[in-house]
């Protein structure tokens, strides 16, 4: 792991740790404010290190709660994509024939529909909520994984240890579980790490369109959307979540990149 990789891990641990711990503490509510005061954004100060938003709410606190949601959306939706993609890819690669043709046609179709139309249309069908955002991002992002897993399975299937395992009379299910799946895990881990960054970005686009996580709950995406009206007057409202999104996504990308390098190196050495 490179220096960038370690820095990324440290950064994500800090963000993730804060996002995990702070909401459990009973001291603050990131959504509450006094409605009788004049509501407008305040610049960073001793009281509010990162300033406040247009409803006098502390941006630092909201950023931490936003991190919780952004990370949740990123991780869970990628988990869904990976699960679905791996499942489809395994089936297609292992069984081949019409299963393969059918599922790869589906992948082609899903990939040829511009993602944003797909997401928009699905998203407007349901009431916007965190879980719907996660589901939508998850179920529109599995196609790449399916292709990846399929091609890995195809190449593993040709290797002699699979033939040897078959010759020993090992059943299909345990063959997939014990012999094929473990060998696809490295590229899946890489795809997942890179996917988290992508999912966080997609969430921010959805929020930008007002279809993401809904107020009063904070996500970096909707904080950013909220800031658009104050770009000129309260730039901190845009800078804080914008920088956080960028740093988090960069971190996931750095780690993914390092992992890819690591696994590639690993596989070269073992071959």
């Amino acid at each position: 792991m490179s220096k960038k990789g370690w820095a990324s891990i440290v950064f994500l641990c800090v963000i993730g740790g804060l996002a995990l711990v702070v909401p459990m503490l009973p001291f603050w509510d990131p959504n509450s404010f006094d409605p009788n005061l004049l509501l407008e954004p305040h610049a960073p100060s001793w009281g509010h290190w990162m300033g406040t938003d247009d409803l006098n709410r502390d941006l630092l606190l909201r950023s931490i709660y936003g991190a919780q949601i952004s990370l949740l959306v990123g991780l869970v939706s990628v988990f869904i994509s990976i699960t679905v993609g791996t499942f489809v890819g395994l089936l297609a690669g292992y069984f081949g024939g019409w299963v393969d043709t059918l599922s790869m046609r589906l992948v082609d179709i899903m990939m040829a529909i511009p993602a944003i139309f797909l997401i928009l249309t699905i998203q407007v069908m349901f009431t916007p909520s965190i879980w719907n955002v996660i589901l939508v991002i998850g179920f529109t992002g599995w196609m790449g994984v399916a292709r990846l897993v399929r091609s890995e399975v195809l190449s593993i299937k040709e290797r002699s240890f699979i033939t040897a395992a078959r010759a020993r009379g090992i059943g299909t299910l345990s063959l997939i579980k014990r012999h094929i799946l473990p060998h696809t895990i490295n590229p899946i881990i890489v795809a997942a790490t890179l996917g988290v960054g992508g999912a966080i970005l997609t969430e921010s686009v959805l929020s930008f369109l007002g279809l993401g996580v809904q107020p009063p709950h904070a996500s970096w995406g909707n904080m950013l959307q909220n800031s658009l009206n104050y770009m000129g007057d309260a730039p901190w409202m845009a800078i804080v979540p914008g920088v956080l999104i960028t740093l988090t996504v960069v971190s996931f990308n750095f780690i993914g990149d390092d992992l890819r390098g690591y696994f590639q190196h690993d596989s070269h050495a073992s071959r």
Partner: protein
């Protein structure tokens, strides 16, 4: 030729699949074009009459079959919102989208080419480290945020580029050169927004390609023959490095087409993406379907072009004839 024909034929079920799935999804979403006019003063009878005029009261399969039949006969229908023929609405917009995407495409390719080549060649150098960090940051910045910041800096603060739009309508009488210059002036910021993200992603791939190619035996063999570094880089490595780039370009085409819509929205760029997204919100089915069909066709033909280019560069892929 048979290969081409086969590829073209295989696009047909793909298109039918795409349109049917999208059509069904669209119909599952609540509301239709008439929900935009629900206002207490509008009578229910008027709404019902319009729904029946537009054929919205028929079953999904019937509506799809009708749409498909009309489309095969070259009639993409009329917009529910503007009554304009869909083909015309798309025709009005596609130029702007193609201009923006082709220009950004070209610029991305050129920058990526040099950046990726050099950072791959100088792998591990300070230059490479910086390129790596910058490309990662570029990939990770939310597009709309970047666009807004560019407007803030270049348009509002420095006042060098217009905030939005496609052209200055006062120049409609001016010479075509002036008008072209004006369009490019308007295009700079949206272009920059797309290019920053695009270059970042593609440079990574290009760099990877260059690194793995420079490790190949044929590069070592060429060096052993005393061939100069520049020929190695620009002839031997380059042509091979094109292959993964073409694949990536083919694969990222859908993203480029749909991805530019955020940019179109922020900069009020009158393109297909803007049209399509407005249509989704307005439930303007003929326009949604037209836009989807158009972008699917673009994507499929883009992939086809990528395959052809690939086969052209890589002699190992079966010849097309």
């Amino acid at each position: 030729m048979p290969y081409l024909i086969k590829r073209l034929l295989s696009a047909i079920p793909l298109l039918i699949g795409i349109t049917f799935i999208s059509f069904s999804l669209m119909k599952l979403a609540p509301g239709d074009a008439t929900s935009m006019y629900r206002d207490p003063s509008i009578s229910q009878a008027d709404i019902a009459q319009i729904r029946s005029n537009l054929g919205l009261d028929q079953p999904l399969v019937v509506q799809y079959a009708k749409w498909l039949n009309n489309t095969i006969h070259g009639n993409l229908g009329y917009s529910f919102v503007t009554g304009e023929p869909t083909s015309k609405a798309i025709g009005d917009r596609i130029g702007a989208t193609l201009l923006l995407s082709c220009a950004s495409f070209g610029i991305i390719l050129v920058i990526t080419f040099f950046l990726g080549l050099w950072s791959g060649y100088k792998k591990g150098s300070r230059f490479d480290d910086w390129v790596t960090i910058i490309t990662f940051v570029g990939m990770s910045i939310p597009t709309f945020w970047l666009g807004l910041i560019l407007i803030l800096v270049f348009s509002l603060t420095l006042n060098v580029f217009p905030t939005s739009g496609y052209s200055n309508p006062f120049l409609s009488e001016a010479s075509s050169l002036v008008r072209l210059g004006d369009i490019f002036h308007h295009m700079t910021l949206p272009l920059l927004t797309i290019v920053i993200g695009g270059v970042a992603g593609l440079t990574r791939y290009h760099r990877f390609g260059i690194i793995s190619i420079l490790n190949q035996d044929y590069i070592r063999a060429a060096r052993a023959r005393g061939i100069s570094e520049s020929i190695i880089l620009f002839k031997h490595a380059f042509k091979n490095a094109c292959l993964p780039i073409i694949t990536i370009l083919g694969l990222s085409l859908p993203g480029l087409i749909s991805g530019s819509f955020v940019v179109e929205y922020i900069f009020a760029w009158p393109g297909l993406g803007q049209l399509g997204v407005q249509a989704v919100f307005a439930r303007d089915y003929p326009i949604i379907m037209g836009t989807l069909l158009m972008s699917s066709v673009l994507i499929i033909s883009g992939n086809l072009l990528a395959d052809i280019a690939y086969a052209k560069i890589d002699p190992r892929i079966g010849t097309l004839s």
